[in-house]
Subunit: 184 residues, 2 copies
Protein backbone atom coordinates (compact mmCIF):
# COMPACT_ATOMS: atom_id res chain seq x y z
CA UNK A 1 0.00 0.00 0.00
CA UNK A 2 1.23 3.46 -0.93
CA UNK A 3 0.30 6.34 1.40
CA UNK A 4 0.61 10.09 0.97
CA UNK A 5 1.03 11.80 4.34
CA UNK A 6 0.42 15.52 4.50
CA UNK A 7 1.59 17.95 7.19
CA UNK A 8 -0.68 20.81 6.13
CA UNK A 9 0.53 24.39 6.11
CA UNK A 10 0.34 27.50 3.98
CA UNK A 11 3.99 28.55 4.27
CA UNK A 12 5.35 24.99 4.30
CA UNK A 13 3.32 21.88 3.48
CA UNK A 14 5.05 18.53 3.93
CA UNK A 15 4.19 15.84 1.37
CA UNK A 16 5.62 12.41 2.20
CA UNK A 17 4.94 9.18 0.34
CA UNK A 18 5.75 5.75 1.72
CA UNK A 19 5.01 2.24 0.54
CA UNK A 20 4.57 -0.92 2.53
CA UNK A 21 6.48 -3.95 1.31
CA UNK A 22 6.97 -7.60 2.20
CA UNK A 23 7.29 -8.52 5.89
CA UNK A 24 5.85 -5.23 7.12
CA UNK A 25 8.74 -3.23 5.73
CA UNK A 26 8.00 0.35 4.72
CA UNK A 27 10.04 2.31 2.22
CA UNK A 28 10.35 5.96 1.24
CA UNK A 29 8.97 6.81 -2.20
CA UNK A 30 9.21 10.59 -2.11
CA UNK A 31 9.22 13.52 0.26
CA UNK A 32 8.97 17.20 -0.51
CA UNK A 33 7.86 20.45 1.06
CA UNK A 34 5.61 22.77 -0.93
CA UNK A 35 6.08 26.40 0.00
CA UNK A 36 4.43 29.77 -0.54
CA UNK A 37 5.60 33.23 0.42
CA UNK A 38 3.86 34.89 3.36
CA UNK A 39 4.08 38.10 1.33
CA UNK A 40 1.84 36.76 -1.44
CA UNK A 41 -1.96 37.03 -1.36
CA UNK A 42 -3.71 34.14 0.43
CA UNK A 43 -5.73 32.97 -2.62
CA UNK A 44 -2.56 32.73 -4.71
CA UNK A 45 -0.70 30.96 -1.91
CA UNK A 46 -3.50 28.43 -1.60
CA UNK A 47 -3.39 27.71 -5.34
CA UNK A 48 0.38 27.07 -5.18
CA UNK A 49 -0.08 24.56 -2.37
CA UNK A 50 -3.17 22.99 -3.98
CA UNK A 51 -1.22 22.50 -7.22
CA UNK A 52 1.61 20.78 -5.32
CA UNK A 53 -0.87 18.48 -3.56
CA UNK A 54 -2.54 17.57 -6.84
CA UNK A 55 0.84 16.96 -8.47
CA UNK A 56 1.98 14.69 -5.61
CA UNK A 57 -1.21 12.60 -5.90
CA UNK A 58 -1.18 12.43 -9.68
CA UNK A 59 2.53 11.62 -9.91
CA UNK A 60 2.79 9.07 -7.11
CA UNK A 61 -0.74 7.63 -7.20
CA UNK A 62 -1.14 6.76 -3.50
CA UNK A 63 -3.80 4.28 -2.35
CA UNK A 64 -4.72 6.50 0.60
CA UNK A 65 -4.08 9.98 1.94
CA UNK A 66 -3.40 10.72 5.62
CA UNK A 67 -3.58 14.26 6.99
CA UNK A 68 -2.83 15.76 10.36
CA UNK A 69 -6.07 16.68 12.10
CA UNK A 70 -6.11 20.41 12.84
CA UNK A 71 -7.61 21.91 15.96
CA UNK A 72 -8.78 25.49 16.43
CA UNK A 73 -6.99 25.61 19.79
CA UNK A 74 -3.59 25.33 18.10
CA UNK A 75 -1.35 28.23 17.07
CA UNK A 76 -3.91 30.92 16.24
CA UNK A 77 -1.54 32.78 13.92
CA UNK A 78 -1.16 29.87 11.52
CA UNK A 79 -4.25 27.76 12.17
CA UNK A 80 -6.39 29.34 9.45
CA UNK A 81 -3.88 28.55 6.69
CA UNK A 82 -3.39 25.06 8.11
CA UNK A 83 -7.14 24.45 8.13
CA UNK A 84 -7.52 25.77 4.59
CA UNK A 85 -4.73 23.54 3.28
CA UNK A 86 -6.10 20.47 5.09
CA UNK A 87 -9.44 21.12 3.34
CA UNK A 88 -7.72 21.26 -0.05
CA UNK A 89 -5.97 17.94 0.65
CA UNK A 90 -9.23 16.24 1.63
CA UNK A 91 -11.06 17.46 -1.47
CA UNK A 92 -8.15 16.58 -3.80
CA UNK A 93 -8.08 13.04 -2.38
CA UNK A 94 -11.84 12.38 -2.27
CA UNK A 95 -12.36 13.76 -5.78
CA UNK A 96 -9.92 11.09 -6.95
CA UNK A 97 -11.80 8.43 -4.99
CA UNK A 98 -9.03 7.98 -2.42
CA UNK A 99 -9.75 7.26 1.24
CA UNK A 100 -8.72 10.03 3.63
CA UNK A 101 -7.60 9.39 7.21
CA UNK A 102 -7.11 12.09 9.82
CA UNK A 103 -4.65 11.62 12.69
CA UNK A 104 -4.02 13.83 15.67
CA UNK A 105 -0.41 14.74 16.50
CA UNK A 106 -0.59 12.41 19.52
CA UNK A 107 -1.78 9.52 17.38
CA UNK A 108 1.11 10.08 14.97
CA UNK A 109 3.66 10.25 17.78
CA UNK A 110 2.25 7.10 19.39
CA UNK A 111 2.15 5.20 16.11
CA UNK A 112 5.76 5.83 15.14
CA UNK A 113 7.43 6.00 18.56
CA UNK A 114 5.14 4.17 20.96
CA UNK A 115 4.47 7.34 22.98
CA UNK A 116 1.91 10.08 22.32
CA UNK A 117 4.23 12.50 24.07
CA UNK A 118 7.36 11.79 22.04
CA UNK A 119 9.35 14.89 21.10
CA UNK A 120 10.29 15.99 17.57
CA UNK A 121 13.71 14.35 17.81
CA UNK A 122 12.22 10.97 18.75
CA UNK A 123 9.68 11.16 15.93
CA UNK A 124 12.34 12.15 13.42
CA UNK A 125 14.63 9.37 14.64
CA UNK A 126 11.87 6.78 14.28
CA UNK A 127 10.87 8.02 10.82
CA UNK A 128 14.48 7.54 9.67
CA UNK A 129 14.68 4.17 11.45
CA UNK A 130 11.41 2.77 10.07
CA UNK A 131 12.27 3.89 6.53
CA UNK A 132 15.91 2.76 6.75
CA UNK A 133 17.27 6.27 6.14
CA UNK A 134 20.76 7.39 7.15
CA UNK A 135 19.53 10.77 8.42
CA UNK A 136 16.36 12.35 9.72
CA UNK A 137 14.52 14.02 6.81
CA UNK A 138 14.62 17.83 7.00
CA UNK A 139 12.95 20.25 7.39
CA UNK A 140 10.60 19.17 10.18
CA UNK A 141 7.60 19.40 7.82
CA UNK A 142 9.15 16.68 5.67
CA UNK A 143 9.75 14.36 8.64
CA UNK A 144 6.26 15.10 9.98
CA UNK A 145 4.58 14.27 6.68
CA UNK A 146 6.41 10.94 6.59
CA UNK A 147 5.41 10.26 10.21
CA UNK A 148 1.76 10.83 9.24
CA UNK A 149 2.11 8.56 6.19
CA UNK A 150 3.81 5.90 8.37
CA UNK A 151 1.01 6.11 10.94
CA UNK A 152 -1.48 5.08 8.28
CA UNK A 153 0.81 2.56 6.60
CA UNK A 154 1.69 0.80 9.88
CA UNK A 155 -1.94 0.65 10.93
CA UNK A 156 -3.18 -0.85 7.69
CA UNK A 157 -0.25 -3.13 7.01
CA UNK A 158 -0.75 -4.86 10.38
CA UNK A 159 -1.16 -8.61 9.96
CA UNK A 160 -4.84 -9.40 10.56
CA UNK A 161 -5.36 -11.42 13.71
CA UNK A 162 -1.70 -11.28 14.73
CA UNK A 163 -3.00 -10.65 18.23
CA UNK A 164 -0.08 -8.64 19.54
CA UNK A 165 -0.26 -5.33 21.36
CA UNK A 166 3.24 -4.43 20.22
CA UNK A 167 3.38 -2.45 16.99
CA UNK A 168 6.20 -2.57 14.49
CA UNK A 169 7.11 0.94 15.58
CA UNK A 170 7.22 -0.05 19.22
CA UNK A 171 9.42 -3.06 18.47
CA UNK A 172 11.73 -1.01 16.26
CA UNK A 173 11.94 1.66 18.95
CA UNK A 174 12.72 -0.89 21.63
CA UNK A 175 15.43 -2.44 19.46
CA UNK A 176 16.89 1.00 18.74
CA UNK A 177 16.92 1.79 22.45
CA UNK A 178 18.70 -1.48 23.23
CA UNK A 179 21.24 -0.77 20.47
CA UNK A 180 21.80 2.74 21.84
CA UNK A 181 22.40 1.30 25.34
CA UNK A 182 24.90 -1.17 23.92
CA UNK A 183 26.74 1.65 22.16
CA UNK A 184 26.53 3.89 25.25
CA UNK B 1 -20.09 43.53 -13.09
CA UNK B 2 -21.29 40.20 -11.73
CA UNK B 3 -20.13 39.18 -8.24
CA UNK B 4 -20.39 35.88 -6.38
CA UNK B 5 -20.49 36.46 -2.63
CA UNK B 6 -19.79 33.50 -0.38
CA UNK B 7 -20.68 33.12 3.29
CA UNK B 8 -18.43 30.13 3.92
CA UNK B 9 -19.56 27.23 6.08
CA UNK B 10 -19.43 23.46 6.16
CA UNK B 11 -23.03 22.86 7.28
CA UNK B 12 -24.48 25.80 5.34
CA UNK B 13 -22.60 27.81 2.71
CA UNK B 14 -24.38 30.84 1.25
CA UNK B 15 -23.78 31.54 -2.44
CA UNK B 16 -25.22 34.84 -3.65
CA UNK B 17 -24.76 36.38 -7.09
CA UNK B 18 -25.55 39.99 -7.90
CA UNK B 19 -24.98 42.14 -10.96
CA UNK B 20 -24.44 45.86 -11.22
CA UNK B 21 -26.52 47.69 -13.83
CA UNK B 22 -27.03 51.19 -15.16
CA UNK B 23 -27.10 54.09 -12.68
CA UNK B 24 -25.46 52.11 -9.88
CA UNK B 25 -28.41 49.73 -9.61
CA UNK B 26 -27.66 46.19 -8.42
CA UNK B 27 -29.85 43.20 -9.15
CA UNK B 28 -30.15 39.67 -7.82
CA UNK B 29 -29.03 36.95 -10.20
CA UNK B 30 -29.18 33.91 -7.92
CA UNK B 31 -28.94 32.91 -4.31
CA UNK B 32 -28.65 29.45 -2.79
CA UNK B 33 -27.34 27.70 0.27
CA UNK B 34 -25.20 24.58 -0.17
CA UNK B 35 -25.51 22.17 2.73
CA UNK B 36 -23.81 19.08 4.12
CA UNK B 37 -24.82 16.85 6.98
CA UNK B 38 -22.81 17.16 10.20
CA UNK B 39 -23.10 13.38 10.44
CA UNK B 40 -21.13 12.79 7.24
CA UNK B 41 -17.33 12.54 7.15
CA UNK B 42 -15.52 15.88 6.80
CA UNK B 43 -13.77 15.02 3.49
CA UNK B 44 -17.11 14.07 1.91
CA UNK B 45 -18.78 17.20 3.30
CA UNK B 46 -16.03 19.37 1.85
CA UNK B 47 -16.45 17.79 -1.57
CA UNK B 48 -20.22 18.49 -1.52
CA UNK B 49 -19.60 22.16 -0.73
CA UNK B 50 -16.70 22.42 -3.20
CA UNK B 51 -18.91 20.99 -5.96
CA UNK B 52 -21.62 23.56 -5.19
CA UNK B 53 -19.06 26.40 -5.30
CA UNK B 54 -17.67 25.19 -8.62
CA UNK B 55 -21.20 24.83 -10.03
CA UNK B 56 -22.15 28.36 -8.95
CA UNK B 57 -19.06 29.82 -10.63
CA UNK B 58 -19.37 27.77 -13.80
CA UNK B 59 -23.10 28.39 -14.17
CA UNK B 60 -23.20 32.10 -13.35
CA UNK B 61 -19.72 33.14 -14.54
CA UNK B 62 -19.07 35.97 -12.08
CA UNK B 63 -16.37 38.57 -12.79
CA UNK B 64 -15.18 38.48 -9.19
CA UNK B 65 -15.62 36.42 -6.02
CA UNK B 66 -16.00 37.98 -2.57
CA UNK B 67 -15.63 35.89 0.59
CA UNK B 68 -16.07 36.63 4.24
CA UNK B 69 -12.68 36.80 5.94
CA UNK B 70 -12.51 34.21 8.70
CA UNK B 71 -10.73 34.76 11.99
CA UNK B 72 -9.44 32.09 14.33
CA UNK B 73 -10.96 33.99 17.26
CA UNK B 74 -14.50 33.33 16.00
CA UNK B 75 -16.75 30.46 17.02
CA UNK B 76 -14.19 27.74 17.74
CA UNK B 77 -16.67 24.93 17.13
CA UNK B 78 -17.31 25.87 13.50
CA UNK B 79 -14.23 27.90 12.55
CA UNK B 80 -12.28 24.98 11.12
CA UNK B 81 -15.00 24.08 8.62
CA UNK B 82 -15.48 27.74 7.78
CA UNK B 83 -11.75 28.17 7.14
CA UNK B 84 -11.61 25.03 5.02
CA UNK B 85 -14.55 26.15 2.87
CA UNK B 86 -13.11 29.66 2.44
CA UNK B 87 -9.91 28.04 1.15
CA UNK B 88 -11.89 25.99 -1.37
CA UNK B 89 -13.66 29.14 -2.60
CA UNK B 90 -10.38 31.02 -3.06
CA UNK B 91 -8.77 28.17 -5.00
CA UNK B 92 -11.87 27.62 -7.18
CA UNK B 93 -11.91 31.32 -8.08
CA UNK B 94 -8.17 31.82 -8.67
CA UNK B 95 -7.90 28.64 -10.73
CA UNK B 96 -10.48 30.22 -13.05
CA UNK B 97 -8.51 33.46 -13.16
CA UNK B 98 -11.09 35.38 -11.11
CA UNK B 99 -10.10 38.09 -8.61
CA UNK B 100 -10.87 37.23 -4.99
CA UNK B 101 -11.72 39.87 -2.39
CA UNK B 102 -11.94 39.21 1.35
CA UNK B 103 -14.18 41.31 3.59
CA UNK B 104 -14.51 41.26 7.35
CA UNK B 105 -18.04 41.09 8.83
CA UNK B 106 -17.67 44.74 9.91
CA UNK B 107 -16.73 45.82 6.39
CA UNK B 108 -19.79 44.04 5.00
CA UNK B 109 -22.11 45.61 7.57
CA UNK B 110 -20.66 49.06 6.94
CA UNK B 111 -20.86 48.70 3.16
CA UNK B 112 -24.52 47.71 3.02
CA UNK B 113 -25.91 49.61 6.01
CA UNK B 114 -23.46 52.42 6.72
CA UNK B 115 -22.58 51.02 10.15
CA UNK B 116 -20.02 48.35 11.02
CA UNK B 117 -22.12 47.45 14.02
CA UNK B 118 -25.42 46.93 12.19
CA UNK B 119 -27.40 43.93 13.40
CA UNK B 120 -28.59 40.98 11.28
CA UNK B 121 -32.02 42.56 10.76
CA UNK B 122 -30.55 45.82 9.44
CA UNK B 123 -28.23 43.95 7.08
CA UNK B 124 -31.06 41.75 5.82
CA UNK B 125 -33.31 44.79 5.37
CA UNK B 126 -30.65 46.61 3.35
CA UNK B 127 -29.89 43.56 1.18
CA UNK B 128 -33.58 43.39 0.26
CA UNK B 129 -33.74 47.17 -0.26
CA UNK B 130 -30.62 47.41 -2.43
CA UNK B 131 -31.72 44.47 -4.59
CA UNK B 132 -35.36 45.60 -4.78
CA UNK B 133 -36.68 42.44 -3.15
CA UNK B 134 -40.04 42.20 -1.38
CA UNK B 135 -38.64 40.16 1.52
CA UNK B 136 -35.32 39.54 3.25
CA UNK B 137 -33.71 36.44 1.72
CA UNK B 138 -33.70 33.47 4.09
CA UNK B 139 -31.95 31.67 5.69
CA UNK B 140 -29.39 34.10 7.14
CA UNK B 141 -26.59 32.45 5.13
CA UNK B 142 -28.38 33.47 1.92
CA UNK B 143 -28.79 37.10 3.01
CA UNK B 144 -25.19 37.19 4.27
CA UNK B 145 -23.78 35.89 0.98
CA UNK B 146 -25.70 38.62 -0.88
CA UNK B 147 -24.44 41.25 1.57
CA UNK B 148 -20.87 40.12 0.84
CA UNK B 149 -21.51 40.22 -2.93
CA UNK B 150 -23.09 43.69 -2.58
CA UNK B 151 -20.09 44.93 -0.58
CA UNK B 152 -17.84 44.17 -3.52
CA UNK B 153 -20.32 45.31 -6.18
CA UNK B 154 -20.98 48.68 -4.47
CA UNK B 155 -17.29 49.31 -3.99
CA UNK B 156 -16.35 48.64 -7.60
CA UNK B 157 -19.39 50.19 -9.23
CA UNK B 158 -18.65 53.54 -7.52
CA UNK B 159 -18.45 56.33 -10.12
CA UNK B 160 -14.76 57.31 -10.41
CA UNK B 161 -14.11 60.82 -9.15
CA UNK B 162 -17.67 61.31 -7.94
CA UNK B 163 -16.08 62.81 -4.84
CA UNK B 164 -18.81 61.95 -2.37
CA UNK B 165 -18.34 60.33 1.00
CA UNK B 166 -21.89 59.00 0.93
CA UNK B 167 -22.25 55.52 -0.49
CA UNK B 168 -25.28 54.21 -2.34
CA UNK B 169 -25.96 52.03 0.66
CA UNK B 170 -25.80 54.96 3.04
CA UNK B 171 -28.15 57.03 0.88
CA UNK B 172 -30.57 54.12 0.50
CA UNK B 173 -30.46 53.51 4.23
CA UNK B 174 -31.08 57.19 5.00
CA UNK B 175 -34.02 57.24 2.58
CA UNK B 176 -35.43 54.07 4.14
CA UNK B 177 -35.10 55.58 7.61
CA UNK B 178 -36.89 58.74 6.50
CA UNK B 179 -39.65 56.63 4.91
CA UNK B 180 -39.97 54.62 8.12
CA UNK B 181 -40.26 57.82 10.16
CA UNK B 182 -42.97 59.11 7.82
CA UNK B 183 -44.84 55.82 8.23
CA UNK B 184 -44.25 55.78 12.03
Amino acid sequence: MRVLGVDPGLTRCGLGIVETGAGRSVSLISVSVATSSPEAETPDRLVLIADAIDAAIDRHRPDAVAVERVFAQHNVRTVMGTAQVSGLVMVAARRRGLPVALYTPSEVKAAVSGSGRADKAQVGFMVAKLLGLDAVPAPADAADSLAIALTHALRYSATPGAGTATTTAQRTWAEAERAARRRG
